[in-house]
C-alpha cells in the first residue's frame, strides 16, 4: 500500500531518525544511495530498507525518478533524510491511503531552525504523498517539482490534490550545514538554468542563493532577469507564481538604486499588499522600512500583526523563513517602536518578556539598561 522513499548520500547521522519514524507505517522503505562513503547503507539495512544505488549525476530529479521506478506500492511518501514523520500523523496517513478520489496529498513541513526538536519553526506545504503513477515524475536538478504540474495531471485524471495535516519535521537548517547546502544548490541551479534558461522559479532561487553566498553583483543580475518577467503582469489581480513572494522579499531588502530596471519600492510594496498580504517576510520588511523612516506607529501595527500571525499560525505557508520575525525579533523591535513613541511602560514589558528568550535576552537587557540609565539621569 505505501512505499516510503529516500535518496541519501552520507546521511548516517540523520537517516536512523527518519527511518524510525516511518517503519511502522510503510509496507516497504527504499533508500537510494547516490555514493555514500559512510555507514548510510548499513543504517538503512538495519531498519529493513531496500537499498538501491544510483550514481550521482548532479540531478535530484533523476535520482528521485529512479527511486520511483523501484517502488511497488500504490502510494509513495517522499521524505528527505533530514526529516521525520510526526507520530501524531500516522493515523491520518493510514486514512489517506484509503482515499479513492485523491491523486496526491499536500503535507505540512515544519522547518526547524535548529538541530533539536524544540527549535522554533515555521510551516510550509508541499506535496509528498502521491500515487505511484508513471505520469507523476519529477523535473529540475535542484528542488525537484512535478513535471508536468501536478494539478494538470490531477485534472486530466479526474482526481484531486487534497490538503492534509500530515506533518513532517525538517531539521535541515542547522547552522553548520547552511553554507555547504548553499554552495551545492548554487552549482545545481546554475546547471539547471544552463539546460533550460529563463525559468522564473529557478532564476529566483539562483539569484537568492548567489546573494546569500555573497556574490552580490551576479545575484542582482540574475534577479533582474527574473524581475523582467514581472513587468508585463504588474496589473494582474493574482500572481503567476508563488515564487514572486521571495523575489519581492529580496528586492525589498535592496537599496533603491540597486533595484532592477522598472522596479521601485512603491511597486514592490503594492504587489506585496495585493498578492501576498499574509507573507510574513514581506510584512517584516515593510515594518523595517516604516521604522527606518521614523513611522513608528505604522511599524508597531505591522509588528503586532506579525506577532499575532505567529501566535495564531495564520501566515502564508508558501515559503520558509526564520520564525524569529513572528517571535522574539518582532517583540524586540516592537519594544523599540513603542519606546520611540514614548510608550515606556509598554516597551519595558516587551523587553522584560524577552529576558526569558535565549536568542534576544542580551539585546533586551541592553534596552532595559538604557531605560534605567535615562531614569537615573533624570533623578540626579
Amino acid at each position: 500500500m505505501l512505499s516510503v522513499c529516500f535518496i541519501a548520500r552520507n546521511e548516517e547521522h540523520n537517516l536512523a531518525r527518519a527511518l524510525e519514524s516511518v517503519v511502522a507505517v510503510a509496507d516497504e522503505v527504499i533508500v537510494t544511495d547516490t555514493g555514500s562513503t559512510d555507514g548510510t547503507e548499513k543504517v538503512a539495512s538495519a531498519f529493513g530498507a531496500r537499498v538501491c544505488r544510483f550514481p550521482w549525476c548532479d540531478d535530484f530529479s533523476a535520482a528521485r525518478n529512479f527511486t520511483l521506478n523501484q517502488a511497488r506500492s500504490r502510494w509513495i511518501l517522499w521524505l528527505d533524510s533530514d526529516e521525520e514523520l510526526l507520530p501524531s500523523s500516522q493515523e491520518e496517513l493510514a486514512r489517506s491511503l484509503k482515499s479513492d478520489d485523491a491523486l496526491a496529498f499536500s503535507v505540512i513541513i515544519q522547518n526547524l531552525v535548529g538541530a533539536d526538536r524544540l527549535s522554533p519553526y515555521t510551516e510550509m506545504r508541499q506535496v509528498r504523498l502521491f500515487h505511484l503513477d508513471p505520469d507523476l515524475r519529477f523535473g529540475g536538478r535542484c528542488h525537484p517539482q512535478f513535471f508536468p504540474p501536478l494539478q494538470e495531471t490531477a485534472q486530466r485524471k479526474g482526481l484531486s490534490v487534497v490538503t492534509s495535516t500530515i506533518t513532517l519535521r525538517h531539521f535541515g537548517y542547522a547552522p553548520a550545514l547552511r553554507r555547504s547546502k548553499l554552495e551545492r544548490g548554487c552549482h545545481l541551479l546554475e546547471m539547471e538554468l544552463r539546460d533550460r534558461p529563463g525559468q522564473f522559479y529557478y532564476l529566483v532561487e539562483y539569484g537568492r542563493t548567489l546573494l546569500a553566498l555573497g556574490n552580490d553583483q551576479q545575484g542582482r543580475d540574475v534577479l533582474a532577469e527574473a524581475a523582467s518577467q514581472l513587468i508585463p503582469v504588474l496589473r494582474e489581480p493574482t500572481p503567476f507564481s508563488t515564487m514572486i513572494a521571495p523575489l519581492l522579499e529580496t528586492l525589498l531588502a535592496m537599496p533603491e538604486d540597486q533595484m532592477p530596471p522598472g522596479i521601485t519600492t512603491s511597486i514592490l510594496l503594492d504587489l506585496s499588499e495585493r498578492w501576498f498580504p499574509k507573507a510574513a517576510p514581506l510584512l517584516w520588511l515593510k515594518a523595517k522600512r516604516q521604522f527606518d523612516n521614523g513611522a513608528f506607529e505604522e511599524a508597531e501595527t505591522l509588528l503586532r500583526q506579525l506577532l499575532e500571525m505567529g501566535r495564531n499560525r495564520t501566515y502564508d505557508r508558501a515559503m520558509s523563513f526564520d520564525p524569529a520575525i513572528m517571535g522574539d525579533d518582532a517583540l524586540l523591535n516592537l519594544g523599540a517602536c513603542l519606546l520611540r513613541q514614548g510608550k515606556v511602560d509598554q516597551a519595558e514589558r516587551c523587553f522584560t518578556r524577552l529576558l526569558n528568550s535565549d536568542a534576544r535576552r542580551s539585546e533586551a537587557r541592553a534596552n532595559l539598561d538604557t531605560i534605567d540609565g535615562l531614569r537615573r539621569d533624570l533623578s540626579n
Binding site: S106, N111, V113, T122, M124, R125, Q126, V127, H143, Q145, F146, L150, Q151, V161, V162, T163, H170, G172, Y173, R178, K181, Y201, V204, R208, A212, S241, T242, M243, A245, P246, A253, K288, R317, A318, M319, S320, F321, D322, A324, I325, D329, L332, N333, A336, L339, R340, G342, K343, V344, R360, E363, N367, T370, I371, G373, L374, R375, D377, L378, S379
Partner: protein, 118 residues
C-alpha cells in the same frame, strides 16, 4: 544586532539641546527654578505634596522624551536565510476560511431547519 543610527543622548542632554522646542515649552504652572541653564533638575519652591506629584509627572514626561533619541538595540536584518524549501510553483491552496465559515453556516441552518409537519 543593529544599533539605530543617529546620536545617542541622555534625557538630560536632550533637554539641553531641545530647550525651547520640546518639553521645556510646557513649563509647570508652579514656579520653578532651573539650575545651571539647561540642566533638567529643578527645585521646588513651595507646596511639597503637590510638587512631588508634579515632579513625578514631569519625570515621566522627560523620560518619554529621552526615549525618542536613546540608543536601542533592534533585530532588523539579522535573521537566518532558510535555503532549500521554497514554494512549489503550483501550490495547493490552503482551505479557505470563507469556505469553512460558509459550510459552518450551512450546517447551522440545517440543524435549525424545522421538521415538516406530518
Amino acid at each position: 544586532m543593529t544599533p539605530i543610527a543617529g546620536a545617542c543622548v541622555s534625557a538630560a542632554d536632550y533637554l539641553t539641546t531641545a530647550k525651547g522646542v520640546g518639553v521645556l515649552d510646557q513649563q509647570p504652572t508652579v514656579q520653578t527654578t532651573y539650575i545651571g541653564g539647561g540642566d533638567s533638575r529643578f527645585q521646588t519652591v513651595h507646596n511639597e505634596g503637590h510638587m512631588k506629584d508634579h515632579h513625578r509627572k514631569k519625570s515621566e514626561k522627560l523620560l518619554r522624551v529621552g526615549c525618542l533619541s536613546a540608543c536601542l538595540v533592534t533585530a532588523w536584518g539579522s535573521q537566518n536565510y532558510l535555503y532549500g524549501q521554497s514554494a512549489p510553483s503550483n501550490p495547493v491552496p490552503e482551505p479557505s476560511t470563507v469556505t469553512l465559515v460558509a459550510s459552518g453556516v450551512a450546517g447551522l441552518a440545517l440543524l435549525h431547519k424545522k421538521k415538516p409537519r406530518k
